[in-house]
């Protein structure tokens, strides 16, 4: 098995871990961190696939873009979380259910 496939496995592992965190964790900060993990695992996948099909470095550049966007997204997400925390005095997603009522 080549090291490239190890990368893919690592990406899948990271994705799974991120997804688990997103689903399981009761704190919104952790959920955001889980989402970061998901993004990073997908970037890892892009880079890994670029190494397998390495004629042009599209994948790596795409990965850079994703990192930049992830940063922006993390900033926006954190801002929302802080706002939500201010409003509800809580960062547990289950308790934020005003829309349902």
């Amino acid at each position: 098995m080549t090291p490239d496939y190890d990368l893919l496995f690592l990406g899948a592992l990271l994705f799974s871990a991120g997804l688990s965190i997103v689903i399981i964790k009761r704190n919104m900060i952790f959920v955001l961190m889980g989402i970061e993990l998901l993004l990073n695992s997908s970037v890892l996948n892009l880079v890994a696939f670029n190494r397998i099909h390495n004629d042009v470095p599209d994948g790596q550049i795409f990965g850079l873009f994703v990192i930049v966007i992830a940063v922006c997204e993390a900033a926006v997400g954190l801002a929302i979380v802080i706002q939500v925390y201010r409003y509800y005095q809580s960062s547990v997603p289950d308790q934020i259910n005003e829309l349902k009522e």
Binding site: L19, I23, I24, V31, D94
Partner: protein
């Protein structure tokens, strides 16, 4: 025999008969609807109405007496092609009777103003008096059996109301009930008679009944009509109610005995005399004679003055009924008319005594039975007017010469002799009983007069007795005058005067021979009465303590045992049957239905409602479970989305 008659013109009807007939009814209605505040008005309005009614009746009588019968015909309704009519038949009998009834009723109304002055229920009293008169006038003028029967029942009802006027007294309520029930007993037979008439002749109209067509129905019809008469006219064996009816106000007794109630039966016999078959006539004669004897004997044994008068009425009615049975309806009619006046006079005079003594007792707080003649005596000086009136009317009852009663009684005696001399010898027995009755009548009459008015005062010395007010004396005056001989005939020894000649309008020529077959009769009867008077005088102080006579030969008890007890027993049996079996069946059915209803209710609640509820419940459950996906939060959302994607992926890959 059919009656040949002219059609009654609307003119005569409106100008005479209808006002006379309807004014008492209007009086009754007015008395009923007048408010309590104006209750005193009744005592003036009601006699006024009756005065006008009497005037119309006398006017009609004056115009009509001696001319052909008049008939008024109006189809009432028709069933299956048969027509039922409203018929008025005016012949001499009915016009004369109409004026007698309305005049006596008017006088009783006037008298009642004084007698009932303190009564609280004056409106009811005068109303029923008016209804009573109306009903009797209806009987008098109606020309068919159906209409007559309706008025007949109306008379029964209003007499019930009047006898029971003081219904707070248990005796009065009982007497009213008794009178009503005895009448019902007779009327049951009357209804059978009506059916027989319908079956035999196919019509109820007096004028259309052709007795030749009747066949066997004629006897049934005769017996049936006779049954009705027995109840209404208090004949043997249904006379028990009449003495008891004395519980009513005295003017009512006067009305019942003179003109309205008991006269109706005899009047009916006279009016439809020709429908009776010979065997029925003999029955009528026997019943009349026995009633006359029982009544006369019982009257001798009484102490209560009203009861003496009641039994004497019974006895006189018996004479009238017997005369009908002896094929002399016109003699009977004549006696009915004279009797109406003098008996009303006697009752009103007795009422004066009772009234004034009651008032005197009220002042002196004394109490003894003022109707008991043993407690009275010597009242001639204290009540001279009443004494004279009582004496005049009593003499008429006793049949003294120069009084109306003498003439009419002689008519009956002559009819009895005539009848007895034209048949088997047993007929003399009945004729003889008529003589016995006319011998007993003066005895009890003058015994009563002696005890009340002559002799020494017994319990009344300390009472302040005053004559009755003029309003009560006026009717007495009129009735006393009408008890004299010229009310019937201007010759005081010949009953065939202006009244008798006019009422005997369709008499068969053989029986109508008005020459005197018995010229000695007048002298014989004067002698006979003188004998009776002598006996009455010599036995004036003998006190009669016969329980047998007092109880009128215990016929009341016999009726009680033979009719009332079995009927009571039957009633109790049927009541028990009703309660146990019929009610039991009903109860079982009711229980079954209740249980069934519970089962159905349970089924409804659990099966049908359950089905509906189940649908609703499952819908809610689905909604609940689906809603959970959204409720549990965003993470579960993601989980389920992931779950779906995984399944989707697995599905695509496989």
């Amino acid at each position: 025999m059919t009656i040949s008659a002219q059609i009654l013109s609307a003119d005569t009807l409106i100008s005479g008969v209808l006002p006379a007939l309807l004014l008492p009814l209007i009086s009754a209605i007015v008395c009923l609807i007048v408010s309590e505040k104006y209750g005193w008005v009744v005592a003036f309005i009601s006699p006024l109405f009756l005065l006008v009614s009497a005037a119309f009746a006398v006017y009609t009588c004056y115009h009509q007496l001696g001319s052909d019968p008049l008939i008024f015909n109006l189809t009432w309704f028709s069933v299956a092609g048969r027509e039922f009519d409203i018929n008025l038949l005016l012949n001499n009998i009915s016009t004369l009777m109409m004026s007698v009834v309305s005049v006596v009723s008017f006088l009783v109304h006037v008298y009642s103003i004084g007698y009932m002055a303190d009564d609280a229920a004056q409106r009811r009293y005068f109303s029923m008096l008016g209804l009573f008169t109306f009903a009797m006038l209806g009987i008098v003028v109606s020309g068919n059996f159906l209409l007559l029967f309706m008025f007949w029942e109306l008379v029964g009802f209003s007499s019930y109301m009047l006898i029971g006027h003081w219904y707070e007294k248990p005796e009065a309520a009982d007497a009213a009930k008794r009178a009503f029930l005895f009448n019902r007993l007779g009327d049951a037979g009357f209804v059978v008679g009506l059916m027989a008439i319908w079956s035999g002749y196919g019509t109820f109209n007096f004028a259309d009944i052709d007795i030749a067509n009747g066949g066997g129905w004629q006897i049934v019809a005769g017996i049936g009509v006779l049954c009705g008469v027995l109840g209404k006219s208090a004949q043997f064996p249904l006379f028990g109610w009449l003495p008891k009816a004395m519980e009513g106000p005295t003017p009512v007794s006067a009305l019942i005995h003179a003109a309205t109630m008991v006269a109706a039966g005899v009047y009916l016999l006279d009016r439809v005399f020709w429908i009776f078959a010979p065997p029925v006539l003999i029955t009528i004669a026997i019943i009349g004679a026995s009633t006359a004897l029982i009544g006369a004997c019982a009257a001798i044994g009484q102490h209560d003055m009203k009861r003496i008068l009641a039994y004497s009425t019974m006895s006189q009615l018996g004479l009238m009924v017997m005369a009908v049975g002896m094929e002399a309806p016109f003699a009977s009619m004549l006696h009915l008319i004279t009797h109406a006046f003098f008996k009303a006079g006697l009752f009103l005079a007795a009422g004066c005594i009772i009234h004034t003594l009651h008032q005197a007792q009220h002042h002196s707080r004394d109490s003894f039975d003022v109707q008991d003649i043993r407690n009275l005596g010597g009242l001639r000086k204290r009540l001279p007017f009443t004494f004279v009136a009582f004496l005049v009317c009593g003499s008429a009852l006793a049949g003294l010469p120069f009084f109306a009663g003498f003439l009419s009684k002689e008519a009956i005696l002559e009819a009895a002799l005539h009848w007895a001399s034209h048949g088997q010898s047993w007929r003399w027995l009945l004729a003889g009983s008529a003589f016995v009755v006319s011998f007993l009548t003066p005895i009890y009459t003058f015994r009563m007069i002696w005890k009340i008015f002559m002799d020494e005062e017994v319990l009344t010395q300390n009472l302040e007795i005053a004559e009755a007010p003029p309003v009560m004396r006026f009717p007495l005056l009129i009735l006393s005058i009408a008890s004299l001989w010229f009310a019937v005939s201007f010759n005081p020894f010949d009953f065939n005067g202006w009244v008798f000649r006019n009422i005997s309008d369709f008499i068969p020529p053989a029986a109508g021979a008005s020459h005197h077959p018995f010229p000695w009769l007048s002298f014989a009867s004067i002698f006979w009465i003188a004998l009776a008077l002598a006996l009455a005088y010599f036995s004036r102080n003998a006190s009669i303590r016969s329980r047998l006579l007092y109880e009128a030969f215990y016929f009341d008890k016999v009726i009680h045992l033979s009719v009332e007890l079995p009927i009571n027993f039957l009633g109790n049996m049927t009541r028990r049957l009703d309660r146990k079996w019929i009610d039991g069946t009903l109860h079982t059915a009711a229980y079954t239905y209740t249980i069934l209803a519970h089962v159905v209710g349970w089924f409804d609640r659990f099966a049908i409602d359950g089905l509906v509820d189940g649908v609703a419940w499952s819908a809610r459950m689905v909604g609940y479970s689906v809603r959970r996906f959204q409720r549990e939060g965003v993470q579960l959302y993601i989980f389920w989305a992931l779950f779906a994607i995984i399944i989707f992926i697995i599905w695509t890959l496989l």
